[in-house]
Point group: D3
Chain length 283, copies 6
């Protein structure tokens, strides 16, 4: 259950409106790697977590904090939207190309749909989707996703940092950059804990009924090169030790097919595919 206080976690006061930046700021609110994503991803991972204790508690703690970041950015966006020019003609009144650029670079739905408010969409106005989050039930796999989510998020906020000179906006961006910086460390530390506690190693436990001598087993340790770049095998993903404790060595091979050229059966004639039944290949 949740409680809310109207005080913000951090200030969100721009020095001046900037509707074009408001459009861009939407990316880290409602974009694929925005605050809506991390808030919901951590909360759903927490709700679905079947292991009581520190991982579940931490997921709920951070997911709840991210809701405060959603609130923070919404507040900032509403303040950035004041005074937007409503038409190209209005934008050109002062002859200043910056105003024309602002008009062209802003999101019309910020005026027509929300009347000067934030909404859960990205910087092109595309709605946030539940498909942006994953809660797989496997913490090792999910914590790698969480680490990249913080990295992608921090990268985007850092790019936004270079898109404004407004001191008030930069104050808030600094705070978001700091939180992402902690959180990317946190998920990497949590992965170390999972491994140290024997709860998970590389997903998934490797026991799928494979003869240890079979080519399929080998395929678990081979870089298969299907392009012609001459440096593709020059990294530590070749000729180094496997990370799974098997003692095997990662190796390099060129891509080659081991399967046949497939011939499909003719199909149910009631589905009217080509060919007609009497011309069908022998399956």
């Amino acid at each position: 259950m949740f409680y809310h206080t109207q005080n913000l976690q951090f200030e969100a006061k721009p020095d001046a409106p900037d509707p074009a930046f408001a459009r861009r700021f939407q990316e880290v609110l409602g974009g694929k790697w925005g605050e809506m994503t991390v808030a919901n991803q951590y909360l759903y991972q927490g709700w679905n977590c079947r292991l009581p204790g520190k991982y579940k508690d931490m997921l709920m703690a951070i997911g709840t904090e991210e809701m405060a970041h959603v609130e923070l950015i919404c507040t900032m966006i509403a303040r950035l939207l004041d005074g937007a020019p409503l038409s190209a003609q209005e934008a050109a009144v002062d002859g200043n190309p910056a105003t024309a650029a602002v008009f062209g670079g802003s999101n019309p739905q910020h005026a027509i749909v929300t009347g000067g408010g934030a909404y859960p969409v990205d910087s092109n106005g595309i709605p946030w989707s539940g498909a942006f989050i994953t809660a797989s039930g496997n913490l090792h796999a999910d914590f790698h996703l969480n680490a990249t989510a913080e990295m992608q998020g921090r990268l985007q906020v850092a790019r936004l940092w270079n898109m404004t000179e407004d001191p008030g906006v930069k104050d808030t961006l600094r705070f978001l950059l700091a939180r992402d910086h902690y959180h990317q460390q946190q998920w990497l530390r949590a992965i170390q804990d999972l491994e140290a506690e024997g709860l998970d190693k590389l997903p998934v436990p490797d026991a799928f009924d494979v003869d240890q001598e079979s080519p399929v087993r080998d395929a678990a340790y081979q870089f298969i090169d299907c392009s012609d770049g001459d440096q593709a095998g020059a990294g530590s993903w070749v000729d180094t030790e496997a990370l799974d404790g098997s003692g095997r060595t990662l190796s390099y091979v060129k891509g080659t097919p081991s399967g046949d050229k497939p011939i499909l059966p003719p199909g149910d004639p009631r589905l009217y595919g080509t060919p007609p039944p009497d011309m069908a290949p022998k399956a």
Copy 2:
């Protein structure tokens, strides 16, 4: 530029049709973490990579291999779809509840739309989306995403392994499990290389004009707990050394607001929000 050989990378021959499993197999073809995603994600990351050499070459190598996995699964699905019952009535003819379960558990578009073929959708028939891939230009952030993509993919294939007893299907799943196992190691190794070569550390370079003594700087090293689970601070994300080489210590604090309760300005009266202009608050 690409070339194609009709021979498959590995065999894709089920012993018997199973339209309900064909629906489920779609998840690792056209779902968020399926082969369409990894193929396109690695190719786009390669095309956008601005650093020539081993990383770009490796991305193109693996992205191209993943296209062969798309092909492999399509072939398998087409073969699994033969002989599907077309109606509930037909499914019940033999009085076998397994046939009823197959009918109920299959995807109607496999008959109505594709006439017995695979298509780029997930196990609920939802189309693959370009939003499933990310190519950010930052290899460190993206390789963490690639690692989780292989982990999520391997997890899903392992779950599918437990949903069929068909020997031919299990052969192909074994091959896919092996490739995912190599690839998850590969991305983790590539992250190590990036760090060893000084190309990237935790994204993004931390230089955003912050006074080293300010509370904002502290926020980059704090676990802020907004839930009441009593184990949330019991992991190595608290009271350990920061991962960024700063020499700072990660610490624990309870969530508290530092911002005001926000009061928004009244807004442009031409947008007809509530309140009416004469009852608007003082901004």
Copy 3:
């Protein structure tokens, strides 16, 4: 800013698993009219509200409560998913058609993707979308939307009530039905308050430069009938007083065109539309 307690607002304990009902329960979690929608809709309306005081406070209060309902349903769904049959063959082992029906009626992603957990999708597995919410800045218009959201939600929960006999599930449904019942009343009361306080009447203030005698003015008070049902004019939307205080009477007319048959100009030849430039009509 938000805080979280791990105790649930209400119990969420089914007496027995039921994966087919778990699929259906997703509708009121991640469907268009589910808890994700009302939680986010009220929170965004609150964050964007430019009138401090009771309306904004109430929006934040209810939006935060709805997050607890999201949590409640997620917990219930995870518990309903235990013991699901993983294949049609497994479902048919006991010869019980109910098990075959459960397999056919369940969502494969509950096993393959979430490993036995809830996620923000509807009963067909379609992701929740940010487009499901509206925060227009106009409270009168939005509160009518909120009222219908509670009505649609209550209707769906009532239908779910008839899809299960599980006492534990019914306990939770009863609680949700009760909350929806209060909330639908609340929004209707809030509309009355807005009108009583003169903050809003029928949106939007009617002052758009129309000659009071013009046919356009008349069009604001006419039922225009474009179908041939003979009862269409038999309701109180005809021959009654207008609701806008204008003193006018609502009237009935048959649909007729007042505009011309349009002829479009030929278009820019650089866009290669039909017709070719030399055969273009005179605009």
Copy 4:
């Protein structure tokens, strides 16, 4: 069955092209609250209506009229698109920032995809979705949705009114404002009729097996406050009579949990969640 006359219901003739306004006008054509939505929503409600007579007849009458509004706006948009600059360079030829603003503020698909025509998308080019409409089978719930649809639509048209000075465009907007004004009254009147005729009251009939003395019954009449705004209980949704004829009073309580802290069972080991089976909690 439908018939069509090529004459428009009202004129749609701009005085001059304005591609940036054409992009904005798309919102009320193919946006969530645009004419595509109301036309289809009313038609589907009519087709699904199981009560013959005035409600069904009226739904078909209005749904058919809204198709004429779709046509009207399409015609206007095609005319607004003539003469659009095709590149930034072309837009800057005259040194007029208004032309630069028009280029930046227009939708590139209006040239590349439609060659100067309207299409069913919103002002950001996002396609209209069948998910925008609801036809629930319950007229009381649906008519509240229809009322808000007219209100949101009128609000958006009124905002567009302030985004243009073109007399021809304003003529058409005036007509649309008038029709929305009638229609919002119509749905409110129809709700009154439903209630007066005893066909529906607050959805859904309140008979869900609840002991009249239970706390669950109380929850149907309580404002539960989960935020800290001090005015949240100052509206008529507290300490007034319930709207359901029960004679009960609506009351105010602070949010508190009544459920346990949930502990989920360990889950099917074949789904490879965390924790591993031997470390699973006792359910």
Copy 5:
């Protein structure tokens, strides 16, 4: 402008309910190639058509007829949905696997969301999208799309024909098959007319500033083979005359690159891509 009569264009009366078939029937209502698509595609092409006369008139005629097909199928679906089992338990009461199959094969939203009615989604419940239609302004290109739309639609209806034995349903399917049969002929005839009248030939007029002797010119007449199937050049797309009146011959070549291996410039350092600025390649 449109008018509506409540009489259906054709009867839509099933002999008995069949909720699993109702789900499947949705494909030709709200799927990519369903009646919603053809109705809207033809209407938008008509509204955007800049050539007055027979093509525009015909588009409006057929688009309006297709609205009657939408209505027809909606009516049928509502009638097919009666008496659906609401739970797996209810479905199994009679021990008949056909009832279990019907439950598993039906769409839960037909009960939870629409209360027994049709809605604009496909057979998996995915909403109809405005992206399904194209109105490009070029009639030659669009009429080929319209021809395939009728073919795909007829193919799907023919497949549905084999999924039911209900005489009433088959009556309606027969009518739809007949209309699709006429319409596919109609679009093919209209393409012949466009060509005969010199209004369009192969889109787009071939005049893009190409030296007649250049390799680029050759590329307009070459089959470039990038796979290893040995029959790829055995069709009339090789060694036959070009269809564009140029007098050239279509020829066969193997795929080969003519471009360089691309090296991208380092990018703006403010976007924090890899590599860091000091390690960037020379552009």
Copy 6:
């Protein structure tokens, strides 16, 4: 299985950056009719093709070539994105309205999300969707779709040709125009081959149990006019010979209903539709 060479099929070198054109170029990469669509459509049609030989071989050949076009356009877009202004303020520094137009007309995600790279979206940033492709199993229907795909694609590239003066960009566009020109001929030739070889004629074989004298049979040869344009019957789709070899004549009729006004049964009372059970109409 696929192989890749890093050399491009054709050069992709702009003379100068142009971020606004880069946004527009995305349409033919990730839009509905872009290279992602044709590449995947042909590959899936090939993989699903149940007739070995020239058609399947040709589909694989062309699908693989189209992947090279995806690569080509990605490379071009990355090069066009260099040096983009990051803010309206930066765009206005030089007082040049062209720079303001470029800022307004560019895609913010090209900076924030991809850091200067291409991604699978259209010119409005909407992600590519698996729903854009069709592989129906019926080659006749699908080859008409493929023909229109090349026509729509060529039309869009031709429009882009008029949106830039950059010689390097025009070189690449010329190559794409040439390839589309060959491919549209190829699909038309392949349709001729299918018909000549008796593999398919108008889809689907016309044998649906219709009495040759029935009105339903007539409906397969009638233009039914539902609009009032006076030229609708003036094309060769009326009073000409049917294309199906039946020897019948296509004729013209005015639209009239042959079905009843439908009355739906009252519905399951457990779904709480209107009307209440005791006021339900007689079915």
